[in-house]
């Protein structure tokens, strides 16, 4: 009643509007619920003067002195706001108008404070004291785990037997099963540090980089094709994978590993390897479908890179804030676009990145080629035409799209090439040589015929020129390229995209980090390099926690934080928060080891007693700790897709252990590649030793991935994946039983058993068990094998054709039936649940 009276009084008397008296009650009652301290829908906060004037993501809503132009007035007058059924009265609207017309004067609110959160993962990483425990702890890890177990009055499990332990740690560190020799050596080594010696040998194995690269490739959504409809091959994507494997083998510290991949191009005088590292960012999908809006899918790439950064380094679902403020975590849409800004001015470029051995030839032969090419260009007087084309492209770049010929040529340049739309805008003198070369190639292949009419091309003898140009091109030395990232020469401004829509830009935003996290390092304008350094600064509460948790997850099957992809409020809390923090602190500031060393981290974990425990189920804990959260034992884990392949190839002796390099295409059934758009994907089966390379080298075609990978839960390489599923399906059984890859492995293993263990059933069975399972069979297992071996030999005796199919090759001193029997046994071994698991 009083308010009502006052309102009336103010309207009637035309005295100046008083914010406290006339406006704030209206705001409080109708607006602050959604635009106040608790919630800032669409970025608008009305309870503080400065924020109120700053407006929403679409821009200011209050224009002091101009009520008619103020969005706030438009929204309340039209009834769009407030969204509750109770609308403002015309008197209230009149007051608001007057208040704005009079200058929207209101008292300054208290100074803006930093966003704070009491959520565990945003707190600084301390180094908790190692607790004292009753049982003997091998390492601080054990002390933290035992402290918890002792509190629950649960005893840890005994150490796994040596064979299990060797197989476990060898698979975990290198992704390959131990050989019978390695097994014999370990069993014979009675030194107290025999296990630690094995660990060091494995950490120094070149296969270590392969094993751990795969987990990183999952997070980086690595693939060998663009994705989307066209899904074109990316012939040089592997160069980045090659970089990852070697970086891990060299134990590149995780901070450097981070910086090079996010900002290698911004390092002073970047090396070829620094540039190759930026291939991480190039794993974004690219839509080359005809008729797409180029800007839309450029923005999609920026969004993908921003969300990937959040997922991979910070374990945050920042992608949620692409369309609206994050519903659970303290990340506003404005802050999302602050991160987005770091990736908004990038150019995708494919650049020469010669591998050792290529460099000399390339340096020697390239100038020869260039001279010859120049002669061709001069002979046909092409320089003027090229200049004209470049000019047309530059002009088209600044015009809205229409169907004129230059516009189409420009659109194709963006859609078909990689980065050349940016390159063409750069003065020729400033263009790196190889980029100019690429532009030239494009002009000859496509650019000229897109722009110029037929008559013009004929007059210039273009066909003849093209032939001569291509002839000269043959002299260009072959060189490996890398997919790289560069900062655009013309930086783009970043705007909030309202509801995440690229056609709907809101207010401009600067580069920035979410306020809940430490501030970006001061000094100079922020760049990707600043961002990368910020991520791996000692103060950052997430990066180290996320990284050590994922390492833990790979070594125990689940992270200390089970939701390794989400450290936000909706993720799960850590089971052992102090252990997590201690590991993160130790990772960053170790005592006596290199900071951020991944090998040191892995060594620390696998040498702990916690890791070495038996994985045998403990029925007495089935009720109390069904998911083994308390770590009273190790876990039995089904191997990832690639390791199942690798193990089968290794056991059978077929494995080709070449490290790094180009991908492979193992045999796959006809009709799989053909599922891709318009049957455009060709699967040229690898021949010779390439057939038998490890699983991480299998060409990954996003729209029609290799079936064995998908059957065994490999990620689809579209979004960052930090945690794979482990399923049990009949399709897996069919895959392992009947796929020619696994059948070949069984045949090779069968022959191997007969050849390497010539003295009879028992020896051969033992050899098979050692190769496949790293242990000797028990008597009852031998009995089972013998019984089915006999059954199989009887089957084959009656069916010679089948015997021939099972055992096409025979050896001296062994008949086909016998080899056939061993192939069948090998097939059993390679399908055993135990073979598919590390225990």
């Amino acid at each position: 009643m009083v308010v009502f009276f006052l309102v009336l009084a103010a309207v009637a008397s035309a005295a100046p509007v008083d914010f406290k008296r006339d406006i704030e009650p209206v705001f409080k009652r109708n607006c602050y619920g959604c635009h106040g301290a608790a919630l800032q829908q669409n970025g608008l906060r009305l309870d503080r003067a400065a924020d109120g004037l700053r407006g929403s993501y679409s821009g200011p809503v209050i224009v002091p002195g101009k009520a008619a132009e103020s969005k706030l007035i438009q929204m309340v007058s039209s009834g769009k706001m407030p969204q509750t059924p109770r609308k403002l009265t015309s008197d209230q609207i009149e007051l608001l108008k007057r208040w704005i017309d009079e200058g929207a004067i209101r008292p300054q609110s208290v100074t803006e404070t930093r966003v704070s959160s009491n959520h565990w993962s945003f707190q600084p990483i301390r180094r908790p004291a190692v607790p004292a425990v009753k049982l003997r702890a091998r390492s601080p890890i054990d002390a933290f785990v035992l402290a918890r177990l002792e509190k629950e009055n649960i005893r840890p499990s005994p150490q796994a037997d040596r064979r299990t332990l060797l197989r476990r740690v060898t698979l975990d560190l290198t992704g390959l099963p131990p050989t019978p020799t390695e097994l014999a050596d370990f069993l014979a080594d009675s030194r107290p540090d025999a296990y630690e010696r094995v660990v060091d040998r494995l950490l120094n194995s070149p296969h270590y980089g392969e094993k751990w690269a795969r987990h990183w490739l999952d997070q980086a959504r690595y693939a060998d094709s663009d994705g989307y409809e066209k899904d074109s091959e990316r012939p040089w994507a592997w160069r980045w994978r090659h970089w990852v494997i070697h970086a891990l083998n060299a134990d590149m510290p995780f901070d450097q590993f981070t910086i090079e991949q996010l900002a290698g191009d911004l390092l002073g005088n970047p090396s070829t390897e620094n540039l190759a590292a930026t291939g991480f960012l190039r794993n974004s999908l690219a839509n080359r479908e005809g008729g797409v809006n180029t800007e839309q899918f450029r923005v999609e790439q920026v969004i993908d890179r921003t969300s990937t950064l959040g997922a991979v380094w910070m374990g945050l679902t920042v992608g949620c804030a692409q369309c609206h403020d994050h519903k659970y975590d303290p990340i506003s849409q404005r802050e999302y676009y602050g991160l987005f800004a770091f990736f908004n001015s990038l150019v995708n470029l494919d650049q020469p990145a010669p591998l050792p051995g290529e460099q000399g030839t390339w340096m020697r032969e390239w100038p020869v080629y260039e001279t010859e090419r120049e002669a061709v260009l001069t002979k046909y007087g092409m320089h003027a035409m090229i200049g004209e084309w470049e000019k047309a492209m530059r002009e088209a770049s600044s015009q809205p799209f229409n169907n004129a010929r230059p516009q189409f040529a420009w659109k194709n340049l963006g859609n078909i090439s990689t980065g050349l739309q940016e390159v063409v805008q750069l003065d020729r003198g400033r263009r790196p040589r190889n980029l100019h070369d690429q532009l030239l190639d494009y002009f000859v292949d496509r650019g000229a015929s897109d722009l110029f009419l037929k008559d013009r091309l004929q007059a210039a003898k273009f066909d003849e020129f093209r032939k001569a140009f291509r002839e000269a091109q043959k002299k260009a030395p072959a060189v490996t390229l890398a997919q790289t990232i560069h900062e655009n020469w013309i930086p783009r401004k970043t705007h909030i995209l309202l509801r995440g829509d690229f056609r709907n830009p809101g207010v401009e935003v600067e580069h920035g980090a979410p306020a809940v996290l430490p501030p970006l390092p001061a000094g100079g304008p922020p760049s990707r390099l600043t961002l990368a350094r910020w991520l791996v600064s000692r103060e950052h509460p997430l990066t180290a926690r996320v990284a050590v948790n994922r390492a833990w997850q790979e070594l125990f099957g689940r992270g200390l934080v089970r939701t390794s992809e989400d450290f936000g409020k909706k993720g799960e809390a850590p089971s052992h928060p102090e252990l997590l923090d201690w590991l993160a602190a130790e990772f960053m500031e170790p005592k006596g080891a290199r900071p951020w060393s991944m090998k040191a981290l892995h060594r620390l974990v696998v040498t702990s007693a916690t890791y070495r425990q038996s994985s045998k189920s403990r029925p007495e804990l089935a009720e109390r700790d069904p998911d083994n959260t308390l770590l009273a034992r190790q876990a039995r884990l089904r191997l990832p897709a690639e390791l199942i392949r690798d193990s089968a190839l290794a056991a059978s002796g077929l494995l080709n252990p070449t490290i790094g390099g180009r991908g492979i295409r193992p045999p796959q059934p006809k009709g799989v590649a053909e599922l891709a758009y318009a049957g455009s994907v060709k699967w040229n089966e690898s021949q010779g030793p390439d057939r038998y390379r490890r699983g991480l080298y299998i060409h990954f075609q996003r729209t029609t991935p290799y079936p064995q990978l998908m059957n065994f839960d490999a990620p689809d390489s579209v979004l960052a994946c930090s945690r794979r599923q482990r399923s049990y399906t009949p399709l897996q059984a069919l895959n392992l039983l009947n796929d020619v890859v696994f059948f070949e492995a069984a045949q090779a293993l069968g022959i191997r058993l007969v050849r390497e263990a010539p003295s009879g059933f028992r020896d051969r069975a033992i050899h098979g068990y050692r190769l496949a399972l790293c242990r000797d069979p028990q008597e009852k297992e031998l009995e089972t094998l013998a019984r089915h071996f006999e059954r199989e030999v009887e089957v084959l005796r009656a069916h010679p054709r089948e015997a021939h199919s099972l055992a096409p090759d025979i050896l001296d001193g062994a008949d086909r039936l016998e080899i056939g029997g061993w192939v069948m046994i090998s097939r059993v071994l390679l399908n055993l649940d135990e073979f598919l698991h590390r225990e």
Binding site: E229, E289, G291, V292, T317, K327, Y328, N402, N403, R405, R503, D566, G568, K569, K570, G571, K616, S617, P619, P626, R636, P669, K670, G671, V672, L675, Y677, A678, G679, T703, P707, M710, N711, D713, L719, Y728, T729, P730, L731, Q732, A733, L734, N735, L737, N738, E781, L785, H788, R791, E792, V795, L796, H799, E802, S805, M824, I825, L832, D833, E834
Partner: protein
């Protein structure tokens, strides 16, 4: 324990009864104990939110954007505008949302003849006589609209409810929600014809749902399911010896390690063996009458591939496969529309007409939901790119997302009706607009689900097929 749960446990118990020994009792106890998790992961049948009208779905996806103007939505008025541009207000509405064509391109009336079909008198094109003859079973929607105007994003939205990657597809949601009635076949089958779709596997992905719900592609040549047949000349006997040895050794190891999850591995091998036996039977058409084969168009080269898939779809539904996706490409007629669209109709119309009749005759139509659709429609103007105007016999249409047609039939659907209208240019719906999310909500409704409650927790929040939209379209329902 409700009935499906009881049946699930009961069938599993029967499975275990075949084996003796203490370890199996323990494994059974374990599986029963963890019923919640095990049920979620498995394909055993599950109960929806309310009594469903449809138990199965056959989803005919005509990839590329079939032209509604030439098939389902007659616009004789367009002849008045032939050769003239669209009214300004409409051509401006395209903004940047045309893939190739110029917004001011000339209006292109359809040369098709639209007759009234069935008791209901629904108008459909002369190129779909067999589908049209089933008009009384069909509910034609002329007021569909979508948000995407490129193929892959459009297909993502149609199948997963979002243009972002990573969400589960419709078939995966159905298999997740309902499980499978078949003990020998996967619950979500995919049959592909034509040249391969833009969306590829994203049209049948499990997204973030467990891998069990990924669509299984049945192939028309080679193995019907990947790796279904034994390698080389291996006989079923050898396969059985192998599986027997495997089972014994796996059981021994289950006892040693105490890991009861090994039971899942063993049962997955047994299901694989049953699939090896039953999937070929699925493809064995020798028991089908010659009249049936002919009705599906298997005797004509042009309709044989699609006819085979339609017949397979019926046979799958009979065997309890929950969701059959028929993915056909491509209906993306930017040019040569009259020739290409005719060919697509010739390939598919007869088989689809026969399938509807066959399902009905077998009493399966009432429990099987049929959907026929593309990812968007086509423009009422001719498409031409650059400066060249195509020859009169080469004309085509560009993508149009704001209004298009599709039809549904069978379980839960009121046939013999048309829902929705569009303006003279088939540009916008003028009555009963139906968004993709509405269609999805309605499909789930027919399967017995409240689309807002069929959710899966991922990255800390509950996701659903219809994202944040979707209303069940009551007019479609019987």
């Amino acid at each position: 324990m409700d009935w499906p749960q009881f049946r699930a446990v009961h069938s599993r118990r029967r499975f275990f009864e075949k084996f003796t020994g203490g370890i199996w009792t323990a494994a059974l106890a374990h599986l029963l104990h963890s019923e919640g998790r095990a049920a979620e992961e498995s394909l055993l049948p599950r109960k929806p939110h309310f009594a469903p009208k449809a138990k199965n779905v056959i989803f005919m996806f005509m990839e590329g954007g079939p032209s509604q103007l030439d098939l389902f939505d007659p616009k004789p008025q367009l002849r008045k505008y032939e050769g003239k541009p669209l009214p300004d207000s409409l051509s401006k509405a395209y903004g940047s949302k045309l893939a190739f064509a110029q917004p001011n391109s000339a209006v292109l009336p359809s040369p098709r003849v639209f007759n009234r079909w069935g008791q209901c008198g629904t108008e459909m094109s002369d190129w779909l006589p067999n589908i049209a003859s089933r008009a009384d079973d069909i509910c034609l929607i002329r007021s569909m609209h979508t948000d995407a105007f490129n193929h892959h994003p459009g297909q993502l939205l149609l199948f997963s409810g979002s243009t972002q990657f990573g969400r589960p597809s419709l078939g995966a949601w159905a298999a997740y929600g309902l499980g499978s009635e078949s003990q020998n076949l996967p619950g979500f089958a995919v049959l592909v014809s034509g040249r391969g779709t833009s969306g590829g596997v994203t049209n049948w992905t499990n997204g973030f749902l467990p891998s069990t719900y990924h669509g299984t592609v049945f192939r028309s040549s080679g193995d019907p399911i990947l790796y279904l047949s034994n390698p080389g000349e291996l006989s079923g006997k050898t396969q059985r010896v192998t599986l027997d040895a495997l089972k014994e050794l796996n059981e021994q190891h289950m006892a040693d390690s105490g890991d009861l999850a090994i039971a899942s591995r063993i049962s997955s091998y047994e299901l694989a063996f049953r699939m090896q036996a039953h999937a070929p039977d699925l493809l064995d058409f020798s028991r089908e009458s010659p009249a049936t084969l002919e009705s599906y168009g298997l005797n004509r080269e042009v309709s044989r591939p699609y006819g085979t898939n339609c017949l397979l779809a019926r046979r799958m539904v009979e065997r309890g496969v929950r969701f059959v996706l028929l993915a056909d490409a491509s209906w993306d007629d930017h040019s040569d529309l009259n020739e290409k669209l005719k060919k697509n109709c010739d390939r598919t119309d007869q088989p689809i007409g026969a399938m509807i009749g066959d399902l009905k005759q077998r009493g399966l139509l009432d429990s099987t939901l049929l959907v026929w659709c593309g990812e968007f429609g086509r423009t009422s103007m001719v498409e031409h790119r650059g400066e060249t105007v195509p020859a009169p016999d080469k004309l085509g249409r560009d993508h149009h997302p704001y209004a298009y047609s599709l039809w549904v039939a069978g379980g839960g659907i009121q046939g013999g009706q048309v829902v929705g209208k569009t303006d003279d240019f088939c540009f916008y719906p003028t009555e009963d607009p139906v968004h993709i999310h509405d269609l999805q909500a309605t499909i789930l409704h027919c399967l017995g689900f409240d689309h807002t409650r069929l959710t899966y927790r991922h990255l800390g929040r509950d996701f659903r097929l219809t994202d944040i939209g979707g209303n069940v379209v009551k007019k479609l329902l019987a």
